[in-house]
Each structure stands twice: as C-alpha cells, then as structure tokens.
Symmetry: C2
Subunit: 336 residues, 2 copies
DNA sequence: TAACGGAAGGAGAACGTTTTCATAGGGAGT
DNA sequence: ACTCCCTATGAAAACGTTCTCCTTCCGTTA
C-alpha cells in the first residue's frame, strides 16, 4: 500500500504547472510532445490517479446512479443490476446501492443520502407506491424512475411488467383447458405487485362467468415453504380444486411438492402455473408452466430511461411496459 | 425537481456565516439557540443537503467501500452484499459495485476507477487469484480483502470457505456408506474454487485406497442444463457409478433429473451430494444432500475485516475461514 | 523591422465543504 | 474600573481538481 498522490505533486516532479498536468490527463489543450512524455512518465512512476471527488466538485457532475431496492435477494435484483450496469458503465456512470429491506423509513434515508452524494438519478423499487412517494420524489433535485410499480398518474416515470394482464392470461389459459376450480396463492397483502396479479386472476374468472370464494385466495410470503404449507392446508381442508395460479415460482414449487407428497399427480390431478420464471421453474419435476419476463431488460430499460432524462434534462413523464411470455411446460394439462 | 442549494445560500438566507451553518449541521461548536432555530428553519424550507463531495474532499474521507465481483448472478453475491451492507451501513459507509463478468481486464479497470473514487477499501472476488493480482493489490493506496480465494501467502488478507475439506468430507460420507464408484462434476477448469473441491474429492478417494479414472472427473459450467447433459452422457456411455459429488447444486439438480429421466431412482440407485446449498437443494425431489455455508456471513466477515483495517490503519495479513455443514437430505443413502 | 498570430503553458478563480484562528461582547472576580 | 475568560460568530485557508484568462515565445508576413 502506498500513499495517495495529487496533481500538485505530479506537477512538481515534472517541473510544470498543474494546469499542464490536467491538460495531459484529459487530453485537451495543446501540450508539447516532450513535456507530455515527461508528465506521462511521472504519472506512471507515481501511479497517480486524479481524485474524482475534486474533479466532480469542479465539474458538478458525479456520474453516479443510485438504486434503492426493498430486497437484494432472489433472482430479480441481481438480474436487474446486471442490466443496469451494462447500460450505465458504458456511459461512464457508477452504481450506488441502497437496500431498504422493505422498511419505509429507510427509503427516505437513502433518498437523503443519495441527494447528499449528488447522484444524478435514482432507480427506485418499492413494494407499494404511494402518494407520499410521489411527494418525496417531486421534491428531489434529480430524476427518478420507478421500477416494477406503474405509478398510475402522468407524473413519475416508470418501467414495469403488465402483471394484471399476464395473470389474466395465465388464468384464461387454464380456463380454456376446461378448469373450473381455481386457487390463487399470492404474496403478502402489502405487495402491490401481488395485488395486481390477484386482480388479473379474478377478472379472468368473473368475466368467464365464474364466482370465487374468498377461501381460494391465499396470501403467503413467497417462500417455498409457505407454498408447501398453504397447499397442504388446502388438501387437508378438502377444498376441491384442479388449477392453481401462484404469484411466484418458489411457492409454486412448494405447491407441487405438497401435492405430490399428498399422493396427487401433477398435472393429471392439478394444473399449476407460476407467475414468475426463475431457474427453479425449469428444474422442478414436472417442470413448471410459468410466465416469463426479463429482469435484466427491466434494469436495462430503466437505466436507459433514466440516462435519457439525465442527459437531456427533460424529466417529463414517460413509461415503458415490458413484454412477457407464457412458457408452457409440464405442470399444466387439459381438465378431464 | 428543484435546484440544488448550497451552504452559502443557506447562510445568506439565515443572515449568518457558512461556518455557523456548518456548526449547526454537524452539531459541533457553540451556537446560540435562537440562531440555531433560524438556521434549522432555513434548512427545512430549502431542503438543503450538504454536498458530500465537498465534505469528503475537505475531510479526506469518502466512506466508500468497493466490491469487485466476477458475477452478480446466482445466490452467492446477493447474499454477500446483504451481509456487507448490513455491516458497513451501520458505520456510515456506502457500497460501490464493480462487475467484471469474469473478464480480467475489467478487474484492473475497476481497481483504477475505485482508486480514482478514493474508496477506502475493496472486497475483491475473482475466479482465480494470481501473482499479478498480488502485485496490483500491493500497489493500491487502500486495503483489499479477497473473498472466496485463499491467497496462500501471508500478504493479502482473505475470507473463504475450506472447499478442499468439505469436498473431502462429502466424499468420505459416501465412502462410509459403502460407495465405491464415484463421479465428480466440477465447474470450469479455470475456476480455482472448483479445483480445490476436486482435489478434496480426489484425496478422500485415494487415501481410502481407491484409484480414479480420468473419465470420472467432468468439468461443466455450473448450469442446471450442463449437469443434466453431462449425466445423460455418462449413462449413455455405460459408466458404472453409484455416487456423485457435484460442485454446485444447480448441476446436481440437473443430474438428479437426468438420472430420473433415464429410469434410475435416487437415492436407491445413485447417491448425490451437492457442494453448495441454495433454495434449489431443498426444493428438489428427492431433496439434495448438500454442503451448506453462508454467503451472508462471508460478506459480513469480509466487511468486518476490511473495516478493521481501514479504521485501525493496520493492514497486516489476516484471514478467516468460515464454517460449513453437511445437510443430510434425501439424495443419499447406503450402498447395497 | 515591425506587426501579427498561434502554440505552449502558467496563475488563479471556482466548486462546497470543514476547520482553525481571530475577535467582539459580556459577565465575574478583584 | 480592569483584567480574565467564556460564548458566539466570522474570515479565510485547505481539500484537489477544471477551466478561463493571461503571458511568453517564436515564426511568418508585409
């Protein structure tokens, strides 16, 4: 480990002024070849790297993008981050991550930290987008793009999936196969994402003329275990059903295992669709029919939208809804 | 979106000097109650946040920790990051992430960027730790802790798992159950981690008096599909085996599926251990016997070690080897 | 030979903080 | 009334850059 060295030191060693060193490093302004060589020599010897803090202070640009997220676990965020970094690193931006672990207080805290750090924009993920969020974001001196939550007004820009529609489509797929007795397992009731899926599911059923008991809508915490236990409970209570729509594929795997452990055969006795398609879906036996969408694209599109706003200075409302696809696999078949 | 505001502006509005504003914000030095109130009022009205760049430049402290990683996918990194942020946010540090996607050139680039950004320390993950890494790291003006790779000298500090030992232990576990015909599926040959596991495996066999054909050591890319295909190939070639040690649980799931699709029963015909225990392992049927270790602890311990060095200024060599546990599940049994 | 112009490079302001030092005011002790 | 000290505040340097002006030097042109 050696010491930091600054531009003054380099200038002194090379016998020039700091202005000339700056010119060499940034390759702007005229410098005689011989002095350039001498300065480059000193830079190499000393391992000098300009202090970006000072540069950014002078330039009033930090090239920093913040991400605020409620959860860094699961496949979603890592893939989003991959998409984000892919886009921003190309343009010389860096990524700062703020994890809220789902606590609302921490969101505010991270916005403040990011404001202090002079990030140039933020990608924001939360479980539930509220009026309060809107107010906070509008008072911020940098643009914000919300990921995963349609903000439902024409103010805060967002990139999201059409969860209502794909839940509807998944349900219709099984309706078309002759199923009539459905169960829906969603995420926590505080999750706006899960709620939209639930509503898409309900709409598909009611518009096909079916009514729906309350007992057939279950809320769990997205874990494999919760999916397992909830399904075991259904079986034990003797609720009759031949189709399940499950908000994520973890709980869907839990459901498959629970049914198999109870002597049922998938898909002969029960068809199951997961509204989420991670590595688990393909690995399970039977493999899971699932709605596929790309978190990497989510990150990519979110970052593109944000950089647009940053670089153009135009923060007008804009949004993007990303595509999805129903992957038909082994967990669904005709109802006999 | 409103404009940034600075300390001078706040001071002007409150009719005081910037020194007094600074004193109020940092709560150091004496300030009369009435002026404090007035300044706080202005701060609230304007939404003033100090420019941390300027502060850090003045203080020569950035409170920034960098993470350089070769892969942001999978369960490992997110869990590590969770562990890291847990530790560092408590002490007021922030996290900067550099993703190399496994490209060596990018490692150097990220070290340079981080040096420019004046991070105070870096947690470094790479597939293979070399002499060149050593040289680069020793020339850096901040401490570095390597994660997952024992650096095998007394110079660069690290936190890692004892992969040699747990691979050995997993193998012995099956030897003790009477198995004699083993197959090992490892990661890519460039992965030092996989190599250590392979050596632990080999050592267990040879020290039990067994020899080992080359054909029974296979290198794949850690994916479920690769595990599946490799196992199908073994079956097709008629290689006789009753035990598999597999470097990660994704490939192990692939192997289970391949064997089941070929008419074998697990664990009756073949016992399988995964040297890695993610959500997949518990979800599979049969569930996978696996070596469990915590990436979250890896991040936590790495961050602790690094912060120690940063705050004490003592960068002497130190290391930590984290515990693991063999989780006995459904994919292993006695050999008949 | 005088005037001009372009290349090379230096001096110094600016960026927004923290911090050190200086100073004014006022109450207490003599 | 004089000194002393403590509280409250301001002025200005320092952090390490970028960038805008200047100045100097030298070759070209009339």
């Amino acid at each position: 480990m050696r010491e930091d060295i600054n531009i003054t030191e380099v200038a002194r060693k090379a016998g020039v002024s700091i202005a000339t060193v700056s010119r060499v490093f940034n390759n702007n302004g005229p410098v005689k070849e011989s002095t350039r060589k001498k300065i480059e020599q000193v830079i190499k010897e000393t391992g000098y790297r300009p202090n970006i803090l000072a540069r950014e202070l002078a330039e009033k640009k930090t090239h920093l993008i913040g991400v605020i997220t409620h959860s860094i676990l699961g496949e979603g965020l890592p893939n989003s981050i991959k998409g984000i970094t892919h886009v921003i690193e190309e343009k010389g931006y860096n990524l700062l991550i703020g994890n809220t672990d789902g606590q609302i207080e921490k969101e505010q805290k991270h916005f403040e930290i990011f404001q202090s750090k002079r990030v140039e924009g933020v990608l924001f993920m939360t479980r539930h987008f509220t009026q309060e969020h809107r107010d906070v974001i509008e008072a911020l001196p940098f643009p914000v793009v919300v990921l995963l939550q349609p903000t439902e007004d024409e103010k805060i820009s967002y990139v999201a999936f059409d969860e209502y529609r794909f839940a509807q489509e998944a349900t219709r797929y099984l309706l078309d196969k002759g199923h009539e007795d459905f169960v829906f397992i969603g995420g926590p009731e505080t999750s706006a994402n899960s709620l939209r899926r639930e509503q898409g599911f309900k709409n598909a059923l009611t518009s096909a003329g079916y009514s729906l008991d309350k007992e057939r809508i279950i809320h769990e915490d997205y874990s494999i275990e919760a999916g397992y236990e909830a399904t075991k409970r259904l079986v034990k209570e003797g609720v009759p059903f031949t189709a399940m729509i499950i908000a994520n594929d973890g709980m869907a795997i839990g459901a498959i295992n629970a049914l198999q452990d109870s002597g049922y055969s998938i898909p002969r006795d029960v068809s199951i669709i997961g509204l989420d398609d991670t590595a688990l879906a393909k690995a399970s036996r039977p493999s899971l029919t699932a709605i596929h969408y790309s978190y990497q694209d989510l990150g990519k599109e979110g970052a593109n939208l944000l950089l647009d706003k940053i670089e153009s200075g135009n923060v007008d409302f804009s949004y993007k809804v990303l595509p999805y696809e129903l992957k038909k696999r082994g967990s669904t078949e005709e109802r006999y």
